[in-house]
């Protein structure tokens, strides 16, 4: 696995806590992390360890209580909500555990959704959507609605949606959590191919050891802190 | 009881939805209550009574009715002949002479006009319709006003609207007419057919809010004295109204049989030929006047009411459908636990009916209080009814309308809920 050494993601002394009434819950504590460009990084840890929270901070869906998050030299932790929305469309692709496709839209239309915010022409959008769906092997399913697709196919659509804007970063939160073993393998193969061929930086939260094996590096979180790193050979 | 408790809890489950549904129900019940109050009063006054029948005697052909005052005493006796002991006398009678005067003779307008009935004040509490159901306080005050009018020939009992007009007129900084009208003096200048008949009045009473807001009552002796005094100051020429000052005679008889006899006495009498007179029951007289509004009343009775009830049923049906759809899993669980389809239907219908009933009652109640106490009646332009009061029955209308619409609207969703198949639901959930 080759990737550049320039960290595309920098997490510096990040703290994240939530308030539940008068109680303060510390989810992440003084966490520092660099992710080089092109790396396929796995985040593992027990429930409540903060791995999804860390993913959300890097994806710009949430903001740290303290510390900074940099993606491609942009300090996203200082951005306001509107700026983050604008940034996310152009820089991040998100893959959900439960796919979260809009049920009344077809596969094509679901993948097209983020492109509608970029002011592209209809022809250009069409080209990109078809490329993305072709990449995930669903060119023959573009008119199907989520209800007409299997779990694995729905997740492929989710991945196509995540890729269609050519983001610098793909974040996947337990992408195989709702899939059977075979479908899960297919999805992981796909993510691996995306990482290698498109040289995309992928951050994946997972409980699945099989998924972890696909990653270049595994980070373990426990009680909001990184406890060990492992590089997968 | 457990089911009822479950129904109550279900209503409180989504407070926002229940609140919106209740508010929508209350608002629509408000419209129905207003409309039905108008129709209710009109139906009451046009309903033929079987006893204590009131009848109007007026000019046979023309409106406004103008009869010679010499007709009055005979008509008040029902044209009963002294030498015919079998002739029926009314149990009570009242002669009306209309007078119209303006507060502003230089700029007469509808707003400055005061329309008066000159009559025997003693007859006001017993013979003027709409004054029967007064509270004890209002009734006592009315009687005191009548006593004052009897004692004061130039007195006047006013409707509330005229007090408002008078209070606007007197901008001299003195205490408002509305608060302390008794003893206040003002003048009226006759207009139209009453031109030349000008009067000074002293307020000796106010009608309770409602039907007589736009009317006034004066002493007939005062009015007739002015008519008698007209010729000497006008080169001996009598006032044009002098021989046609009687507008209406109201009589009361025991029942319809007595009415028919008296009507025959009057219409066959040779004393009333020029002009001829007509005798009709109060309900018939009001009915013929309202006949011109029959299409409007039909629009209120049918399309408007149906539209309100339909909208209400749709609002309730929509709310309960959404609720049932969101709780399909729950319905399936109830079935698995052993609830029968009828019980599930009862739960759904019960939820809707409870909401409809409470909202309907509240809506009607708020309408009653707001219109009657806040606005002193609903002002709606229909003939000589200046205002319509909301009857106390309206509370039951609200309950009936809310419950009925809820029942109608919830039948289909309830049926749908009762037919939920647990196996289908759980396979989807899995």
């Amino acid at each position: 696995m080759t990737h550049t050494d320039t960290p595309i993601v920098r997490v510096e002394h990040v703290h994240k806590f939530f308030r539940r009434g008068s109680e303060r819950l510390d989810v992440l504590q003084d966490l520092t992390l660099d992710v080089p460009e092109g790396e396929f990084l796995g985040l593992m840890g027990p429930s409540g360890s903060g791995k999804t929270t860390l993913l959300n901070l890097i994806a710009g869906i949430d903001s740290p209580s303290e510390g900074d998050v940099w993606v491609q030299d942009e300090r996203i932790s200082a951005m306001g909500e509107g700026q983050l929305a604008h940034w996310r469309t152009r820089h991040v692709g998100f893959v959900f555990q439960f796919y979260h496709l809009l049920p009344v839209l077809s596969a094509y239309e679901n993948v097209e959704l983020p492109l509608l915010l970029l002011g592209l022409s209809a022809a250009r959008r069409r080209e990109q959507v078809l490329n993305a769906l072709d990449l995930v092997g669903l060119s023959d399913r573009i008119r199907h609605r989520p209800g007409q697709l299997s779990g694995g196919q729905q997740q492929r659509v989710g991945i196509a949606r995540a890729l269609v804007t050519d983001p610098v970063l793909i974040v996947a939160d337990e992408p195989t959590g709702d899939l059977d073993a075979r479908s899960a393998e297919e999805i992981l193969d796909l993510l691996g191919a995306v990482s290698k061929s498109l040289k995309k930086t992928i951050l994946m939260v997972t409980h699945d050891p099989r998924a972890a094996r696909r990653a270049d590096r595994i980070l373990h979180l426990e009680k909001g802190q990184l406890v060990e790193q492992a590089t997968v050979v | 009881m457990k089911l009822l408790s479950l129904i109550v809890k279900n209503v409180g489950r989504n407070l926002l939805r229940s609140a919106l549904t209740a508010l929508g129900t209350m608002v629509l019940v408000l419209v129905v209550t207003l409309v039905w109050s108008v129709l209710h009063l009109i139906d009451l006054v046009t309903e033929e009574k079987s006893h204590d029948v009131k009848a109007f005697i007026s000019e046979r052909w023309s409106v406004p009715s103008r009869l010679p005052y010499s007709y009055a005493s005979s008509l008040c006796e029902g044209a009963a002949r002294a030498d015919h002991p079998e002739d029926i006398h009314p149990t009570d009678a009242m002669a009306w002479q209309f007078y119209g005067g303006t507060l502003d003779p230089k700029n007469p307008s509808m707003k400055s006009m005061v329309f008066c009935i000159a009559c025997d004040p003693r007859k006001v509490p017993t013979m003027m319709s709409g004054l029967e159901g007064l509270s004890a306080t209002e009734d006592a005050e009315l009687h005191r006003s009548v006593e004052r009018l009897l004692a004061k020939r130039d007195g006047i009992i006013l409707g509330r609207n005229h007090l408002l007009a008078l209070s606007q007129k007197s901008k001299d900084g003195k205490q408002s007419m509305l608060e302390d009208p008794l003893g206040r003096k003002f003048s009226l200048s006759g207009f139209s057919n009453f031109k030349g008949l000008d009067f000074d009045f002293e307020i000796c009473g106010v009608f309770p809010p409602g039907r007589y807001d736009t009317l006034a009552v004066i002493n007939r002796d005062y009015y007739n004295a002015a008519l008698d005094a007209y010729p000497p100051s006008h080169a001996g020429v009598p006032h044009p109204m002098a021989d046609r000052s009687l507008s209406l005679v109201v009589i009361k008889v025991d029942d319809m049989q007595a009415y028919n006899r008296v009507a025959e006495q009057i219409t066959t009498s040779l004393r009333f030929q020029n002009p001829q007179v007509k005798c009709e029951t109060e309900s018939s007289g009001v009915g013929s006047f309202l006949d011109a509004y029959r299409d409007l009343l039909w629009i209120m009775r049918v399309p408007l009411t149906l539209a309100c009830l339909g909208t209400l049923a749709l609002v309730l049906a929509n709310a309960i459908s959404i609720s049932v759809r969101e709780r399909r899993t729950e319905m399936a669980v109830l079935k698995v636990l052993g609830f029968r389809p009828g019980q599930i239907m009862f739960l759904v219908i019960g939820e809707s009916v409870l909401l409809g009933l409470l909202a309907g009652f509240t809506g009607a109640g708020l309408t009653y209080m707001t219109i009657n106490w806040g606005f002193h009646g609903l002002s709606f332009p229909m003939g000589f009814f200046p205002v319509f009061m909301i009857p106390i029955n309206a509370l039951w209308w609200g309950v009936a309308v809310g419950t009925g619409a809820a029942l109608a609207g919830s039948l289909v969703p309830a049926l749908s809920a009762s037919r939920v198949k647990p196996a289908e639901v759980f396979s989807k959930v899995a």
Partner: protein
């Protein structure tokens, strides 16, 4: 009091200046177009969700249909009434009543005063040099209904206008006959050569509305024998004031108050009903300006008689006071019912948002801004409203052309009229505006609640 003034002014504007409605609709449509222009979430998403929940969509839309449809029918009534009062009277006529009269029925002119007034310079003449001035007696008379329908009164009020000279009156009022001819100078039918002891029938010309009203008194046999099954026509007879009357002509009067009048010779009418006075003098001038001049002269400079002169158009416009009261009542009822409809659509939208919380979360994560979510849900609410509102306008329009009875006029006086319901472009404008307003208001609060959701919370 202030509120009353504001509402009265709005009512007056709505009645007299429909442009205000068009402006409001223009603004509303402009807002909708703006929403469509800035909307980024595909409209197909909105439409498909509506069709997915078609029962809810249908029920909510139908509520709009009922509210708007009813509003259209009620406005058709007031528009018909307005058209009637607007269509009555001639711009160049001055109507003279007795001073202080609130209506013709209460007027009593002094006949000695009329000759001089008729000969004033402003009053125009016809080709034969005759003064175009019509002396009239306007009466409201009671007529027993021979065969009252169930629930209907056994008597009715009719408007009879006694005319001194039919030919002059026709020129003054610029009115033609639809059929038949004017009554003769004698005012009664010519019975010469007829061997009958019965008094000759009084000749009358009827407005189409009252001709239809009186036709309802006919037995089925009489109706079958008549020329026109729907109304009395030339040659038909009716009974009024214990006299026989015969129809000599039908007025071309649709859209005017004389549509509900019976015109006959004044000399014959007066004795029948005991009203032989002149109530009204109508003077014809060259044009509207001349009428104003004559009115002003009579009002300010003519002291020889106690009269109330008015430009005829203004007199009939004043009758629309009842209309304004009805319009106010309609506005109140429509507003209240609309509020009920708004609560209904709010329920639907809150439920829709609740069902699509995850969609909202995904859209936010994908980068859609809060306001874009707001726009999408607002459009959804507006589509529901438009579906129902347009159908309501269409169904309400079926009332166009129907005739109804009513009363126009000021309190104490009034004219019983048969008027035609009119659904015009202004009513459609009002219907669509109310639809968009209800849809917008009903969708706004739920849409605002949708945009407050945080993406992560939405996805949990």
């Amino acid at each position: 009091m202030q509120g009353e003034l504001i509402v009265s002014e709005l009512v007056r504007l709505a009645l007299t200046d429909p442009r205000s409605l068009w402006v409001l609709l223009g603004l509303a449509v402009g807002m909708v177009l703006l929403l469509l222009a800035v909307n980024r979430i595909p409209l197909s998403y909105t439409l498909r969700n509506l069709s997915l929940r078609w029962r809810t969509t249908l029920m909510t839309s139908l509520a709009f249909t009922l509210v708007v449809g009813l509003m259209v029918v009620m406005l058709a009534f007031t528009t018909g009434m307005q058209r009637m009062t607007d269509g009555s009277g001639q711009p160049g006529n001055v109507i003279v009543l007795a001073e202080g009269s609130i209506d013709e029925a209460f007027s009593n002119l002094n006949v000695e005063d009329l000759g001089e007034i008729e000969n004033l310079p402003g009053v125009r003449r016809d080709e034969a040099g005759q003064r175009l001035a019509s002396r009239e007696s306007y009466l409201i008379v009671k007529q027993p209904v021979p065969h009252p329908k169930p629930g209907r009164s056994d008597s009715r009020f009719l408007q009879v206008r006694g005319i001194t000279d039919a030919a002059i009156a026709a020129k003054v009022h610029n009115i033609q006959l639809k059929s038949g001819s004017w009554f003769s100078a004698a005012g009664v039918e010519d019975r010469s050569g007829v061997d009958s002891k019965a008094a000759p029938a009084i000749q009358a010309v009827l407005g189409e509305g009252v001709a239809g009203e009186l036709a309802a008194d006919r037995t089925p046999e009489e109706a079958a024998a008549g020329k026109n099954p729907h109304r009395l026509d030339v040659g038909d007879r009716f009974r009024l004031g214990e006299k026989d009357w015969v129809v000599t002509g039908i007025l071309k009067s649709s859209g005017a108050t004389c549509n509900s009048e019976i015109w006959a010779n004044r000399a014959k009418v007066g004795p029948v009903f005991g009203r032989e006075n002149v109530t009204t003098l109508v003077l014809s001038t060259a044009d509207a300006d001349a009428a104003v001049q004559l009115r002003d002269f009579l009002k300010n400079n003519y002291a020889k008689a106690n009269i109330l002169p008015q430009v005829e158009k203004e007199y009939y416009a004043g009758l629309s006071e009842t209309n304004q009261q009805f319009l106010f009542a309609i506005i109140v009822i429509t507003t209240i019912m609309s509020i009920g409809g708004i609560f209904g659509v709010m329920n639907t939208m809150f439920a829709a948002i609740s069902n699509r919380i995850k969609d909202i979360g995904v859209l936010r994560i994908l980068g859609y801004a809060r306001w874009q979510i707001l726009v999408s849900f607002l459009l959804e609410s507006l589509v529901i409203a438009l579906l129902g509102g347009l159908l309501g306008c269409a169904l309400g329009s079926l009332a166009n052309g129907l005739t109804v009875n009513s009363v126009v006029g000021q309190g104490g006086g009034g004219k019983f009229v048969v008027l035609e319901l009119v659904v015009d472009a202004n009513i459609w404008t009002a219907g669509i505006f109310v639809t968009l307003l209800m849809g917008g208001l009903g969708g706004l609060v739920p849409a605002l609640s949708a945009v407050r959701l945080k993406p992560l919370e939405a996805l949990r």
